[in-house]
């Protein structure tokens, strides 16, 4: 039998990459560096999905987010003048509101950490790895058919909106 990959070490490693990447996203002045840090975060997140025995979600995460959406992000950022954004002030001095939000979030985290086990339903045995793709497909086209179609309709509206806004004459 293979040794399990989903060890605590890997969880902490991936979580650390995600946290550091997330901090870099908001602290870098250069937008391209922020985007690259975001890519690292998203890839580490794909690793977390793998640890949760959801390989399909991990693969889709890499293809869609890291390979597709972030490339378009970079595409747009590269067209913006970096020099101007480097000179701009990063923090907007709203210490009171920011502090309150941070306090509220911190309180939430601490309460979850303290009450932890009682807040969540008891963990289930993970779905067997080899059936993951089939399970996702069955759920999407069975139980969650309606939300799935609504989401695709929303995307269609967004596409049409983009075409209408970009083209003066259709």
């Amino acid at each position: 039998m293979n040794p399990p990959v989903a060890t605590t070490f890997f969880f902490y490693l991936l979580a650390a990459i995600m946290l550091i990447g997330g901090v870099f996203v908001i602290t870098r002045k250069n937008a391209v560096h922020s985007a690259l840090a975001l890519i690292a975060t998203l890839l580490a997140q794909a690793g977390i999905y793998l640890m949760l025995y959801a390989p399909f979600v991990a693969g889709v995460q890499i293809i869609l987010y890291a390979g597709g959406i972030m490339v378009l992000f970079l595409f747009v950022i590269m067209l913006i003048s970096i020099e101007r954004s480097l000179k701009e002030r990063m923090l907007n001095r709203q210490w009171v509101v920011g502090g309150l939000a941070a306090l509220a979030l911190g309180a939430l985290f601490i309460s979850v950490y303290v009450k932890g086990k009682n807040l969540f339903p008891t963990p289930k045995v993970p779905v067997f790895e080899t059936n993951n793709t089939q399970t996702v497909g069955n759920l999407l086209y069975g139980q969650y058919m309606f939300p799935f179609e609504i989401a695709s309709l929303l995307l269609l509206v967004a596409i049409i909106g983009a075409v209408v806004m970009a083209k003066k004459r259709i």
Binding site: N2, I62, G67, G68, M78
Partner: protein, 431 residues
């Protein structure tokens, strides 16, 4: 020591990939073998491309370094390694430095799941094809980073072009792949597979390569993929990111020496990677040609002799050229060298005739032969097609390949479900 030996030997009797057997030793061996094989293939491709292109254009190509320029790739590699590594003054150091690494890593990592045979793969993932598409789509990040970090106009234009091009063609590519995955689900359980080995095994079970499945649907999917994969690897006629006449060298204009050679290595191994996807998905992977028409022990024997015969033929061609070498004393060393090369090829051919070797390398040979066919196509494209204009490229991607792919997907699903649909129609009319 004994336990270690037993650990190493225990894998030999299993018929699983080292990844599935969980054997670290053999997994490492396989990784090294694949890496070595890829490097040799890239070197061979470098020489073959220059020679074949030259012959297509009625030139001789490299002739000076070694007989028929056989040592030219090695000379090139030494030149690249000795070159000064230049970084533009205003470049973004870290991004400039990591970009080629990302491209190379993405290009080599995909080979983890490439199935050279039923047990000849580093590992088999149940999301194999998704993994390959996902990781190879990361290479565009490296290209964009390289173009941006160079802080120069040509690379930036090349990077913009490449990101637009690769994102567009990935969509058509994905649709063609999905149509194959639908085909894999045509069995008793009704469940398909994303694993690379599973896809080839389902072609074996259905007794048909997917390129011939539901003729001409499989062929159309294959054609879409074959076009999209050329665009995906930035090769002619879709090599707009590095169009020499417009952008000097595109996204790697500012790279020199070793870093440039990393881009070169990544480009060729990415070509081999997408060709392996095409071979696995449509051309039956490691399966030999015509397993159901020409079956039986005799045909198995004949096909198992093909690898050896191929290498013997290559050796014979080499010796034919040894005879044709100029008889001038200055060419003596070159003639001896070429004869030695031919002898090595012939010896490999003889080695491949031995029954234990023959049984083990047959699948690897057929897989590599099919991939080599694609590699030749790449060179042929480059030698014959003029480069597309950027708007033409986008038009082909979005207005031809994407609608065809969508229609193909619907048709494949419909034909695959034809009995169920027919039953449903009958049930509705009887009621």
């Amino acid at each position: 020591m004994g336990a270690l030996l037993q650990y190493i030997q225990s894998y030999l009797s299993s018929d699983k990939t080292p990844g599935a057997a969980g054997n670290f030793f053999w997994a490492t061996v396989y990784i090294l073998l694949v890496f070595l094989g890829l490097s040799v293939a890239v070197i061979a491709m470098n020489w073959l491309e220059r020679k074949i292109l030259a012959h297509m254009q009625v030139r001789l190509g490299p002739m000076r370094v070694g007989p028929h320029g056989l040592l030219q790739p090695i000379a090139d590699a030494i030149k690249l390694l000795l070159k000064e590594d230049i970084m533009p003054a205003e470049a973004d150091g870290l991004v400039f430095w990591t970009a080629p690494l990302i491209v190379v890593l993405a290009a080599f990592t995909v080979f983890v799941v490439v199935p050279f045979g039923p047990a000849h793969a580093i590992t088999d993932m149940n999301i194999g094809i998704l993994f390959m598409l996902g990781v190879s789509s990361l290479s565009v990040l490296g290209i964009v980073m390289a173009g941006w970090a160079s802080n120069s106009h040509y690379p930036l234009m090349g990077a913009l072009r490449s990101s637009a091009q690769m994102v567009s063609y990935e969509v058509a590519m994905g649709l063609a792949v999905v149509s194959v995955i639908i085909m894999t689900s045509l069995n008793d359980q009704g469940t398909g597979t994303l694993s690379m080995i599973g896809i080839v095994q389902s072609q074996m079970a259905q007794g048909e390569w997917f390129v011939f499945k539901f003729f001409p649907l499989g062929l159309i999917g294959f054609a879409i993929f074959a076009i999209a994969m050329v665009a995906e690897t930035n090769r002619a006629p879709f090599d707009l990111p590095e169009a020499e006449s417009e952008l000097t060298a595109g996204f790697h204009t500012e790279y020199s020496g070793f870093r440039w050679s990393l881009f070169f290595l990544a480009e060729y191994s990415a070509m081999i990677a997408v060709s392996s996807i095409a071979v696995t998905l449509w051309l039956g992977g490691w399966l030999r040609p015509f397993p159901n028409w020409l079956h039986g022990a005799t045909w198995d024997l004949i096909f198992s002799l093909v690898p050896g015969i191929t290498f013997l033929l290559l050796g014979a061609i080499t010796f034919f050229n040894v005879v044709r070498m100029p008889k001038h004393p200055l060419f003596k060393i070159q003639t001896i060298g070429l004869a030695g090369f031919g002898a090595v090829l012939g010896l490999i051919g003889l080695l491949l005739f031995l029954p234990p070797v023959r049984d083990r390398v047959g699948d690897i040979f057929w897989f590599s032969a099919k991939v080599a066919g694609f590699m030749y196509l790449y060179i042929w494209y480059r030698g014959t097609f003029p480069r597309y204009r950027f708007d033409q490229l986008m038009k082909v991607g979005w207005k031809v390949l994407l609608p065809t792919g969508l229609g193909l997907l619907i048709l494949t699903a419909g034909v695959g479900m034809r009995t169920e649909i027919w039953k449903a129609i009958q049930g509705a009319t009887q009621r």
